[in-house]
């Protein structure tokens, strides 16, 4: 019941905002609706926490500790992003970068995007998972090109084409999965249900599943932003409105990784080997290394953090590929803290570029003096992103590193190089932006500080102390992903 309410809120909100999206109080409606979905998701999470996994709606939906934590995260970040977007889009509107129609479109698509992600997380059916992932792409394509500049249109076109190609591979993988499942589970819709598949994964034909996973890996890997399928990501992040960059980075990549992890546990269950895990480790490590070296040569502030997202998704993919209780736990924690930190950083970045009228890092200076909240928000966010204690990313990266040293010691140096380069690259760029004097072209703005503050204090808390219920919860999820 809660589940159905959860999904209906965002879809109804999308329809309503399509009409009233430019009304004076539309951002407040957006915030209120998102907060309602957050409340519903917390109720859902409590239910799972007390009663364990369950399926609903005639097996159409399935909730377990693994997906429900991502549901809570998704609704939480969408709520804070809508708080941020209220200020941010008002400033953009007053600068004349968006008009009446585009505001309506923006708000409607924002909620449709949230709906698609929630659907992808909650569905029990691998086919519907694919459909929702595609819907999430389609909802954001035209948001990336919202400003209609040549660059924005190019970025959106690239996003549309590359993700279209990628996701098509995933559909082929799903067809193969269905082929294998049908031989065990019989014809009809039941053969694509996760609840059925996970029980019979040992009986599925390994040769078919191996082939299926190659396609699923490339397909969903494109959406995770794994190298070498990552080309769309920096463009889409840098050209769209900042609230969209925040949810793309903080949420969509997570959902895609979630799909990949689900597929992986099926495939490895069937083949009895570690093939899928090894592939994920390979792609993850490659993404970490390529992205951290690419960080060194960025000039655009949003591109910088887009590459940082590729880097962190690489780490999480690597962790899930490594498997085992510690690495999987670390991977889940990493997804959580990365998405909180990255969206907070994007909030600060959005305001910083509004203050300077550019996304060029060379022209962003003196943030701490100009606007202490934005400056410190950015600095603390970057400290967290580069894995410094006492923030949550330190804890998760530490766990992943420990598991690597234990299981695959030879890969440890590569992981360390990636982390070190990323650390150096981020600081070299961010330090001059936050320190120093206020440049003459800087304009003061009223920033939305609450979202950044909320996110960063959560990340700090998760670094210092992991609440018992959360670790218990993660352990339940780890048990599911064996």
């Amino acid at each position: 019941m809660t589940l159905v309410i959860l999904l209906w809120i965002s879809i109804l909100l999308a329809v309503a905002l399509a009409f009233i999206g430019d009304w004076r109080y539309a951002p407040e409606v957006n915030i209120l609706g998102s907060a309602l979905t957050f409340a519903a998701s917390v109720v859902l999470a409590l239910k799972v926490y007390q009663g364990g996994a369950f399926s609903a709606g005639g097996n159409f939906f399935f909730v377990d500790p693994f997906n429900v934590y991502l549901v809570v995260l998704t609704t939480f970040v969408s709520t804070t992003t809508s708080i941020f977007s209220r200020r941010y889009m008002r400033i953009e509107r007053s600068h004349g970068r968006v008009g009446h129609w585009r505001m309506r479109f923006y708000h409607a698509m924002f909620q449709l995007f949230i709906f698609a992600m929630l659907m992808a997380l909650l569905t029990n059916n691998f086919g519907v998972l694919w459909i929702s992932m595609e819907l999430a792409t389609l909802a954001t394509v035209l948001l990336v090109s919202l400003y209609r500049t040549p660059n924005a249109i190019e970025a959106a076109w690239k996003y549309f084409i590359l993700c279209g190609v990628g996701i098509a591979q995933a559909l082929f993988g799903t067809v193969l999965l269905y082929f294998a499942a049908e031989r065990v589970l019989g014809e009809g819709g039941n053969a694509l249900l996760w609840t059925n598949l996970s029980q019979v994964s040992g009986q599925l034909e390994p040769t078919v599943l191996r082939l299926a996973f190659v396609f699923l890996m490339v397909g969903y890997g494109t959406k995770v932003g794994l190298v070498p399928m990552h080309n769309w990501l920096p463009d889409a992040h840098s050209e769209g409105p900042t609230p969209i960059s925040a949810v793309l980075s903080g949420l969509l990549l997570n959902v895609a990784l979630y799909a990949l992890v689900r597929c992986k546990s099926l495939v490895d269950g069937s083949t009895g080997t570690h093939l899928a895990g090894n592939m994920m480790m390979g792609f993850g490590l490659l993404s970490l290394l390529v992205a951290s070296f690419s960080l060194l040569r960025q000039k655009d502030i949003k591109r910088l953090f887009a590459y940082s997202s590729i880097e962190h998704m690489g780490i999480a993919t690597f962790a899930f590929g490594l498997g085992g209780p510690i690495a999987t736990f670390g991977g889940m924690l990493h997804m959580l803290v990365h998405s909180l930190t990255k969206s907070a950083v994007f909030f600060s970045v959005g305001h910083a570029s509004q203050m300077h009228g550019t996304q060029e890092m060379a022209r962003i200076r003196g943030l701490i003096r100009g606007n202490p909240a934005v400056g410190w928000g950015l600095l603390l966010g970057v400290m967290a992103l580069s894995g410094m204690p006492p923030f949550g990313l330190f804890a998760s990266e530490f766990l992943i590193l420990t598991a690597t040293i234990k299981d695959r010691p030879l890969l440890t140096p590569l992981l360390l190089i990636g982390l070190a380069v990323a650390f150096a690259a981020l600081f070299r760029r961010v330090q001059p932006m936050v320190a120093g004097l206020i440049p003459p072209w800087q304009k003061p703005i009223t920033a939305a500080n609450i979202p950044v503050f909320l996110h960063m204090s959560l990340v700090l808390m998760l670094g210092l102390y992991l609440p018992v219920f959360l670790s218990h919860w993660f352990q339940m999820a780890v048990g599911l992903l064996k």
């Binding site: 190019e154 970025a155 190609v165 269905y178 040769t207 078919v208 840098s238 690419s294 040569r297």
Partner: protein, 221 residues
């Protein structure tokens, strides 16, 4: 109809689908691409209906109608209107090295046969031999998206790829569950609106639909 006849007919249609894929790959006139695409959809719909008739899997009739409606009538019609509105129906795309593209295409077909060999051995369906051709259609669509420079032909590659995926589902498993097929069709419809909007945006911003000029977003040092 006897089973042998159905298998023969299905193979014939599969061959025609592959033929249209190759034709799409090298056709340079925008208008002709549209025609070939409609034919491909027609063969696909026909093949689905025949399989549905022979196997008694009745939901394939619905899929067949959906294919005919969307890929033979609706999408070509939308694209036809767009092309006229944008005044690009006479446009001829310059292309690099057609023979090389063809060779790569042939290699992809062989590769598809190789890749699907284990599945053909496992399957007992009468459509098993066409799975390789379906994968080949997907690959050729992908190749078309990579080699073309015109936004419309890139989209046609995308749609051809989608045809191949649909064909793969019919060949491997007599179609995906109905809820999935309807969902995919819905996504495709939304995608159609989006690229329609895109054609206008690209055309007004860049004065042409040649995406070659969209190369600004690169890593610069």
């Amino acid at each position: 109809m006897s089973n042998a006849l159905v298998v023969q007919l299905n193979m014939l249609l599969a061959a025609l689908i592959l033929l249209t894929s190759f034709a799409l790959l090298v056709q340079r006139r925008i208008f002709a691409i549209l025609h070939i695409f409609a034919w491909q959809g027609f063969f696909l719909g026909l093949s689905t209906a025949i399989i549905g008739y022979a196997t008694g899997v009745h939901h394939l009739y619905v899929s067949s109608l959906l294919t005919l409606g969307m890929k033979v009538v609706l999408l070509p019609y939308i694209l036809y209107k767009l092309i006229h509105k944008l005044k690009i129906h006479r446009e001829i795309e310059s292309m690099i090295n057609t023979p090389a593209t063809m060779m790569v295409g042939i290699a992809l077909v062989i590769f598809s046969y190789h890749l699907t060999a284990p599945i053909r051995q496992l399957s007992s369906l009468m459509t098993r031999s066409t799975l390789a051709l379906a994968l080949a259609t997907v690959m050729l669509g992908l190749l078309m998206m990579v080699t073309r420079r015109h936004a419309v032909s890139q989209i046609m590659g995308f749609l051809a790829m989608e045809n191949g995926l649909f064909f793969a589902a019919t060949s491997a498993t007599y179609g995906m569950p109905m809820v999935v097929e309807l969902g995919v069709a819905l996504d495709l419809l939304i995608a159609a609106f989006i690229f329609g909007i895109f054609f206008f945006h690209i055309n007004t911003t860049f004065d042409s639909l040649d995406v070659e000029q969209m190369a600004k977003l690169k890593e610069t040092d």
